[in-house]
């Protein structure tokens, strides 16, 4: 069947006026040929003319492998005011719905811990420490809303209440009354690097993803990237790029073998009129592979990629350092947080 139809096609193509060059594949030839019978013939003439001019200005691109190295968020995000209010409301509601606290299951009668517990319940009217003064079994249990500006719904305030409670219990029940027990507070969400805005530090912006950005000798910022060598896969090239640019003193993990995004620099052509088709500098296509960083720090002192500086930046800060086209191509492959 195939030979017969092939023969028919060949005869048809011989009979047809040949307006198509031999560089076009057969199915495309057929499409164009069919169209040539229709009324759209002039349009085809123009496109074939433009395709005839194309091969001379064929752009040359260098394939690059880029690394989007990210440090994942270390702490949870800040809560919105509505979320704080909602969680606080749920806690007081839970006071009314759950069974009352069975004290004698946890505290033996007459022990110092029991005495301390009784004293504290007198003060705060409820077993919970983080919901302020509220008793779910009182006549004013309906009045569970906070006043404007109240601190009780703030997570920091709740944690502080827990720590203070633990401290006072430790002081009240310990044998040694001479020294005060001090329980260390949790580390603040704002670190030293945040205050100094140290963009090389990995301790900055703990609740955000940070991305490694490097600066070339010419002064422009980019993700680490380098041309793929022959016989090298994209993933291998990306791993080599990372080792050559940011050093090996990092515990990293590449997420996959496929790029998550790409950006292309167009080839630069010379300005002269006679050599309009000459390519001065070839363009490059950068394919970015995603990588995560667990431990370590970037070190450019031994880099072989002509880099002079690096920074760890969040997604919003990247926009200030990258050029607009580059950023618009990469922004959708970065995490929001």
């Amino acid at each position: 069947m195939s030979s017969g139809s092939n023969g028919a096609r060949r005869v048809a193509s011989l009979l047809r006026p040949s307006i198509i060059d031999s560089g076009v594949c057969r199915s495309c030839q057929e499409t164009l040929g069919r169209r040539s019978y229709s009324s759209a013939a002039p349009a085809i003439e123009s496109t074939s003319a433009s395709t005839a001019a194309d091969p001379a200005v064929k752009p040359a691109y260098i394939i690059n492998a880029g690394v989007v190295l990210s440090r994942p968020p270390q702490i949870t995000r800040e809560l919105e005011p509505f979320e704080k209010a909602f969680f606080f409301y749920q806690k007081r509601l839970n006071e009314r719905l759950a069974l009352p606290f069975t004290k004698y299951f946890y505290f033996k009668r007459g022990t110092p811990a029991d005495e301390d517990w009784k004293k504290k319940i007198q003060e705060r009217r409820t077993a919970a420490r983080d919901i302020g003064k509220y008793n779910a079994y009182d006549s004013d249990a309906w009045n569970d809303e906070l006043l404007l500006g109240a601190k009780e719904s703030e997570p920091e305030h709740q944690v502080e209440a827990l720590v203070q409670d633990a401290e006072s219990t430790a002081n009240a029940t310990s044998q040694d009354t001479s020294k005060k027990e001090e329980i260390p507070r949790p580390y603040p969400r704002i670190t030293e690097a945040d205050k100094k805005n140290d963009q090389k530090s990995l301790d900055r912006l703990l609740s955000r993803t940070l991305y490694l950005l490097v600066q070339s000798k010419e002064g422009h910022w980019k993700f680490p990237s380098s041309p793929v060598e022959s016989g090298e896969t994209l993933r291998l090239a990306a791993e080599r790029t990372l080792a050559q640019s940011a050093g090996i003193n990092m515990n990293t993990w590449f997420v996959g073998f496929h790029p998550v995004g790409w950006h292309s620099f167009n080839p630069r052509r010379s300005k002269k009129a006679d050599s309009a088709t000459e390519i001065e500098a070839p363009g490059s296509k950068i394919f970015f592979l995603k990588s995560r960083m667990m431990a370590g720090q970037a070190d450019l002192s031994v880099n072989t990629q002509d880099l002079k500086d690096f920074k760890w930046l969040s997604k919003e800060e990247l926009a200030q350092y990258l050029n607009t086209q580059y950023y618009s191509n990469i922004k959708n492959m970065l995490a929001d947080r």
Binding site: A98, L99, F101, F107, A127, R129, V159, P186, A295
Partner: protein, 185 residues
């Protein structure tokens, strides 16, 4: 209040279940079966689930990171001493958690100088020590050389023994070597 279903049946005369759901079957006078199959619309009491009282507790992991969770325990703070943050399994790249031998007083080194390394649990790792202490490195090198020499001597003696086997006159006994402790046996 009551967990009984509204469909009450006395199963004495019912042979199979299909007969119970056939409404068209004429009731026989002799049967004592009672069907109450009409829809019931009275409210049934849904008991409130018994939920124990829960507190908010602050968990402090061994590296100082904290989070709060809800628990029935009345302790306000829980501090963990061993968790994923200081486990070698979860931190394979942490040199702090590696099982590195600390010998500040030099007692282990003294023991080894006297009795050798045959008592070590695993093969000796000399690289880390050499990196730290040049004197110890020199000493270890000398030790290794002596060890090799002793091994060679022993081997020669054995070869002598083999070559001399079966000959009439007994070969002169190999000179008594002082006891040299060696790791490999």
């Amino acid at each position: 209040m009551s967990m009984h279903t509204s469909l009450r049946r006395t199963a004495a005369t019912i042979t199979n279940s299909t007969t119970t759901i056939l409404p068209t079957r004429p009731p026989t006078q002799s049967s004592s079966t009672t069907f109450i199959c009409s829809q019931c619309r009275h409210a049934t009491l849904l008991r409130r689930p018994k939920r124990p009282y829960t507190f908010t507790q602050l968990i402090t992991l061994s590296d100082g990171s904290t989070f709060t969770h809800r628990t029935t325990s009345p302790a306000p703070i829980y501090r963990s001493t061993r968790d994923t943050r200081n486990s070698l399994l979860w931190n394979p790249s942490s040199s702090k958690l590696m099982n590195v031998e600390e010998d500040e007083a030099g007692r282990l080194a003294a023991f080894r100088a006297r009795f050798g390394r045959s008592y070590d649990a695993s093969a000796p790792v000399a690289e880390e020590e050499t990196a730290k202490d040049p004197a110890a490195a020199k000493k270890a090198e000398a030790d290794a050389k002596a060890q090799i020499k002793a091994d060679q001597e022993e081997e020669d003696n054995l070869l002598d023994l083999i070559s001399a086997f079966g000959q009439n006159e007994a070969p002169p006994p190999p000179e008594k070597k002082p006891f040299k402790p060696s790791g490999k046996k």
